[in-house]
């Protein structure tokens, strides 16, 4: 019998039968669509791909993708994905989360996810608000912003996801914008291709509670041509001082060993079968 190579998958093949529930114009549509395209470009096998998310508008994304998926708990997508990827290194694992999910309730996991350097592609869909709970401030909301939870204006300085990811030691850090879908798609591809923990920050406006398209349209720019993405110090300096919103690859360290490579190097004889009788004999 002759094996016929299957036709390559197209973006449509990654679309699930569940219709997205987002509001018209929501930035998350662009992230979803870029994800379909990136997956097709990467030629990911759908059954070997898992999309993990927490809870939030953005975290509804797995339902709309025709791969395996997990819609977990608010803030816990990263540790769930960590366990999955460590147990099943053969899988491609994506993590999608909101700014609240990854930097508020999940803020304790993000530094460790980055420091561990497990081969995950993490995409933070940042709308600087809590979309699903209808518009409170989030860790990335600007000073002074009036919301339902800050009727007199926000008094807490925003956290910068890109700066934090860099400080935590992530090996690949980039930023995209929902209104620049092609670049977004390219960056998802690049983030995925990085071996180890990659963190893509996406400015993804919430049309319902924090419509920032105009704001970002005026502020985004590509990273300076002369930025050397292998220079962590430069990347951090950029993230620290930016007045404009830079898009592109802030940092990339292709030389590092990810977690898996390190643990595989420990013991040559990994993967012996368990011999219970011999094991118990140590207690004899």
């Amino acid at each position: 019998m002759v094996e016929v190579a299957p036709a390559p998958l197209t973006m449509k093949d990654y679309r699930s039968e569940v219709k997205p529930v987002w509001c018209p114009g929501c930035g998350d549509f662009a992230v979803l669509s870029a994800t379909y395209k990136a997956m097709a470009r990467l030629g990911l096998r759908r059954e070997d791909t898992v999309v993990v998310s927490g809870i939030g508008c953005s975290s509804r994304l797995p339902y709309f993708v025709k791969t395996y998926g997990m819609h977990t708990l608010h803030g816990r997508a990263l540790p769930v994905a960590t366990g999955l990827k460590l147990a099943r290194p053969d899988l491609s694992v994506f993590v999608f989360g909101g700014d609240g999910d990854l930097f508020s309730i999940g803020a304790g996991h993000t530094p460790h996810g980055a420091a561990r350097d497990i081969d995950l592609t993490v995409i933070c869909m940042d709308n600087s608000t809590y979309g699903l709970t209808k518009g409170q401030t989030s860790p990335t909301s600007p000073l002074g912003r009036k919301t339902k939870s800050t009727p007199y204006g926000a008094v807490v300085q925003p956290l910068s996801p890109v700066l934090l990811a860099l400080a935590f030691g992530a090996g690949w850090v980039g930023r995209a914008y929902s209104a620049k879908p092609k670049q977004l798609e390219d960056l998802i591809v690049e983030a995925y291709n990085h071996k180890g923990f990659s963190f893509l920050h996406v400015e993804s406006p919430c049309t319902e509670f924090n419509n920032t398209y105009n704001y970002f349209d005026a502020l985004v720019q590509d990273l300076p041509e002369d930025h050397d993405p292998t220079d962590r110090e430069a990347a951090i300096r950029l993230a620290l001082t930016e007045e404009k919103v830079n898009l592109g690859v802030f940092y990339r360290d292709d030389s590092r060993q990810d977690y898996r490579s390190k643990i595989d190097a420990w013991t040559a004889n990994r993967g012996q079968p368990f011999d219970p009788v011999a094991y118990l004999q140590q207690y004899a």
Partner: protein
């Protein structure tokens, strides 16, 4: 009456050798072929503070730590003050005369001074102090010093010079006792024959062994007393087996990682104690809702809050049964002994994987670290289950959360081409798609809980774990670490002519109600627990409508058989 066992208690300053001397004596006795049972308790302090260790050494199964000690070994005056009143009438006090000034006593205690510090100083080898003591103990109570020599040799195999000095100290202690102490007490180890196949293990060690046997290949945890050494053993063992152990940033992460691994089709677990387990409640609910197998070991300690980290308590049953918002099915299992830790953790994995539910394994501080001798389990009697994988027919139009009569839906894992689905903590339909319709929620809730019914029916097939006189009208119900003490109390009660039976439950939820109802009918029911509020008793009352007599101890120390016997006698009279 010749002693069938000896109970020795050693007390002193934590970190000053009490624990290590006790460990070595235990190991020596076990090598000699005795059955042993130990209990240890640490101070609250990081270093220092009072620690003590009790060893029961016998011929034939010893399942509890015994009542009053026959022999008390005091390293310092504090130890003497704390324990002197517990030493049995006519018992033996061994002590360092430079540290301890015993009073004249009215209990016919026999006093043997062993100037271990002074002798060690004389030998110019202070680290030999413990060995001097151990040598003396061998001589006094009839343990072959060769057995202790063996222990020392295996521990110091790679440090020749130290080994030599240690062995000398052991001999010096032995000789000192022989020459200077006039044995004048009845306490001798019974004569025995060496047996084959005996293991000496702690509860935590048995849990690790059982989990690996059940197929566990992923572990994530966060350090906490008294569970940390489960994680540490997994860190050593799993990589050899191609598995992974990861120290997480906290317990929420650890449990989440286990859920991730488990979704990936790899058997996985975590282990913690009360404070950490409390933090895992949300993840447990996720596992319940999205039907992902999850095994959590909670090595209970004394609560609430930080409580008494180094002390025994069984007060996490309520949280295991009811912690977390919403109604979801979960299974709670508690082992009764070290050997049972092995058997029950395998059962925990079997149930988690067969029924796709969270299983909470309630061990406790005393089981975690006590050592027991046991026969190597006959593995052919301990099956290992796997998940129900979808058939080709199922995969033709795969519904992850298919509503079935058993409640169990075949579980696909990534890699399975036609099994793609999204696992959901949100209410969902059979395909895993979000669905907040009232009828759907009802159907899904019933489906999820039906799994417990199916399991209950399976459990009803097992005979009730009874011990004693099955026709007795007095039943002692217990769970967890107190099994040995309860069995002993029941035996003693029956020997005294008080017909008594014990029921030591392993699976605490779901309960085999059809067996329990008739069994309990007409009986007086004592429920023995290490907690204030009688958590198992409450569970039984609510589930079965019975009336219970609660026997509670909650200071942080284990029941003795004698205490339980006293309550049995009281109730038999009353």
């Amino acid at each position: 009456m010749p002693q069938s066992d000896l109970v020795i208690r050693l007390g002193g300053e934590g970190g000053e050798g009490v624990i290590s001397a006790s460990d070595m004596f235990t190991a020596g006795a076990a090598r000699a072929g005795y059955d042993i049972f130990t209990f240890r308790t640490y101070p609250a302090e990081i270093k220092g503070g009072h620690a003590w260790y009790q060893i029961r050494i016998g011929k034939g199964k010893v399942g509890s730590l015994g009542d009053a000690p026959d022999i008390l070994v005091c390293f310092n005056q504090e130890a003497y003050e704390i324990h002197k009143d517990q030493l049995r009438d006519g018992g033996v006090l061994v002590y360092d005369p430079d540290q301890v000034k015993p009073e004249a006593n009215g209990h016919n205690h026999k006093h043997y001074p062993v100037p271990m510090t002074a002798i060690a100083k004389q030998q110019d080898f202070m680290r030999g102090k413990n060995l001097i003591l151990l040598g003396a103990l061998c001589q006094l109570f009839g343990l072959e010093p060769a057995e202790l020599e063996g222990v020392v040799r295996s521990r110091l195999a790679r440090r020749a010079e130290l080994l030599q000095k240690n062995l000398e100290s052991l001999q010096i202690g032995y000789d000192f006792a022989k020459q200077n102490l006039v044995k004048d007490d009845p306490y001798y180890l019974p004569h025995i024959q060496k047996r084959e196949g005996t293991l000496v293990m702690s509860g935590n060690e048995a849990i690790v062994a059982g989990a690996l046997y059940a197929g566990c290949r992923f572990f994530a945890g966060y350090p906490i007393t008294p569970a940390s050494d489960i994680m540490e053993a997994m860190a050593r063992e799993l990589p050899k087996l191609g598995g992974v152990m990861l120290q997480a940033e906290d317990e929420m992460a650890a449990a989440s990682m286990v859920v991730g691994a488990s979704y990936g089709g790899v058997k996985a677990m975590t282990a913690t104690s009360g404070p950490g387990y409390t933090l895992m409640a949300e993840v447990t609910g996720l596992a319940g809702m999205s039907e992902i197998p999850l095994v959590i070991v909670d090595a209970q300690r004394s609560g609430p809050s930080t409580g008494m980290p180094t002390k025994l308590e069984q007060s996490d049953l309520n949280h295991a049964l009811f912690g977390g918002h919403g109604d979801f099915p979960r299974v709670v299992i508690a082992p009764g002994s070290v050997e049972d830790c092995f058997r029950q953790i395998v059962r925990a994995f079997n149930i988690a994987w067969k029924y796709q539910v969270p299983v909470i394994f309630l061990s406790d501080q005393s089981l975690s670290h006590r050592t027991e001798s046991l026969q190597a389990p006959d593995l052919s009697t301990i099956p290992v289950y796997e998940r129900e994988a979808p058939t080709a027919e199922d995969l033709a139009h795969y519904a992850r959360y298919k509503i079935t009569p058993s409640g169990i839906s075949p579980m696909a894992i990534p890699g399975e081409k036609n099994g793609m689905f999204v696992s959901a903590g949100l209410e969902h339909d059979e395909y895993g798609h979000p669905d907040l319709d009232a009828d759907n929620h009802v159907a899904m809730t019933l489906k999820r809980f039906r799994k417990l019914d199916t399991l209950r029916a399976e459990l009803e097939q097992e005979p009730l774990p009874l011990h004693g006189d099955p026709n007795a009208s007095l039943v002692v119900v217990g769970w967890g670490a107190s099994e040995g003490a309860i069995l002993e109390a029941v035996d003693r009660a029956n020997a005294k002519g008080i017909p008594t039976v014990s029921l030591h439950l392993r699976v605490l939820n779901p309960l085999p109600e059809n067996q329990l109802r008739p069994f309990f009918a007409g009986k007086k029911i004592l429920v023995v627990e290490h907690n204030y509020s009688g958590q198992l008793a409450r569970h039984l009352r609510a589930t079965l409508g019975i009336v219970t007599v609660n026997v509670n101890k909650f200071g942080g120390l284990p029941f003795t058989a004698g205490e339980i016997l006293a309550r049995i006698e009281e109730e038999a009279r009353g």
